[in-house]
Symmetry: C2
Subunit: 189 residues, 2 copies
DNA sequence: GACAAAGTGAACTGATCGGTCCATCTGTTC
DNA sequence: GAACAGATGGACCGATCAGTTCACTTTGTC
């Protein structure tokens, strides 16, 4: 289906917010970077906050689709895919323009738990957890939820550490730790 | 040594920034919350950014001192202290007013790696890593740096997850995972 | 009490903020 | 060419932003 002007606006807004932050990116600048006038932006979205939410929804959808497919490409088995999460993270961290996780940053800028932006960030992570737990179930983990929660912690920790930029290989470090946790849950490799 | 007006200003600024964010807290509001006029603030600090840096330095110093002492209180041995990190995190997460990690939020709002605020956030984490590696060395880990990096990832992941607020017990989850990793590195408990 | 140091409040500067308005332009359809 | 729909740019609104100014007040020291 042909993308509408609105879809292109959201995609470009997503990119601008990711690169320079939510509050630090004013509407004048956003209009300049998206090539859409402020009048048109406010035709599509009642407020800046609604545009941010639309951008986060787009990111959530794109990222989770991409992640599922990439994990399936990287490994044949659920167990293999659990570990491949960290290969995928390594690929992401090495990309030009890597600037951490959109949702972690959104929840840092909008801290109230009831704030829609914060809530949507939490929901994104909850959906990722559900997917990892499913892989853990399929891999035969005795406590799939516990294994999934541990792997999520390694994943979040790797992202934050990569963004801080003080450690050489957070994805590699996380993968090594994940290997130990997966072996402890599922038996030796 | 008797705290100066400047010290009190920095401590109150720290609290305001932690609660409501750096960019979202304007200087008029800061003056109102600290009880120090803008004129005086600018007598002590040339810019808002310098005040933020002073607040981060204070937080780094206070937190690392507190953390070292608290870990020593929670466990007698280096190995015990490695695990006690997560008890300390649990205590912190349960505090009223918990709002994530000052430094993770600072690096989210100031993303350029060369930006002084981002660099100071990375430095804070590097110092924490050095301390954890020292504990791992003292505990007899064959690869203390690797163990320390893994535990740091769990720590950062737990903090971010606690701030997002979608999981019930991130500190407990991280502790369970840390126990496995420490056992793998140092032998059974 | 005199004086210096420190601090104040509010007005100010120039700039930017989110959001609105409107005359004008562009593209499409008939 | 006319009519209509969609979009624009920049001026505008009221508010806030970081930082400055200055007449005045308070505090501390001798």
């Amino acid at each position: 289906m042909r993308p509408t002007k609105r879809d292109e606006l959201v995609a470009k807004a997503l990119s601008a917010f990711y690169r320079t932050g939510f509050q630090a990116t004013g509407m004048d600048r956003l209009a300049a970077e998206t090539g859409v006038s402020k009048t048109s932006i406010y035709k599509h979205f009642r407020t800046k906050e609604e545009l941010i939410l639309a951008a986060l929804r787009l990111r959530d959808e794109q990222f989770r689709n991409f992640r599922t497919r990439r994990l399936e490409a990287l490994a044949d088995t659920p167990r293999g895919q659990l570990l491949a999460i960290f290969d995928l993270l390594g690929e992401w961290f090495r990309q030009d323009g890597f600037r951490g996780c959109m949702f972690i940053k959104a929840s840092a800028e909008y801290q109230e738990p009831e704030h829609p932006i914060h809530a949507q960030s939490a929901e994104h992570k909850r959906l990722l957890f559900v997917h990892v737990r499913k892989l853990a179930e399929q891999a035969g983990a005795p406590d799939p939820a516990a294994l999934a929660r541990a792997l999520m912690l390694l994943e979040e920790g790797a992202i934050v550490t990569a963004h801080l930029g003080y450690a050489p290989d957070p994805a590699g470090d996380a993968k090594a730790a994940a290997r130990v946790l997966i072996a402890a849950a599922l038996g030796p490799w």
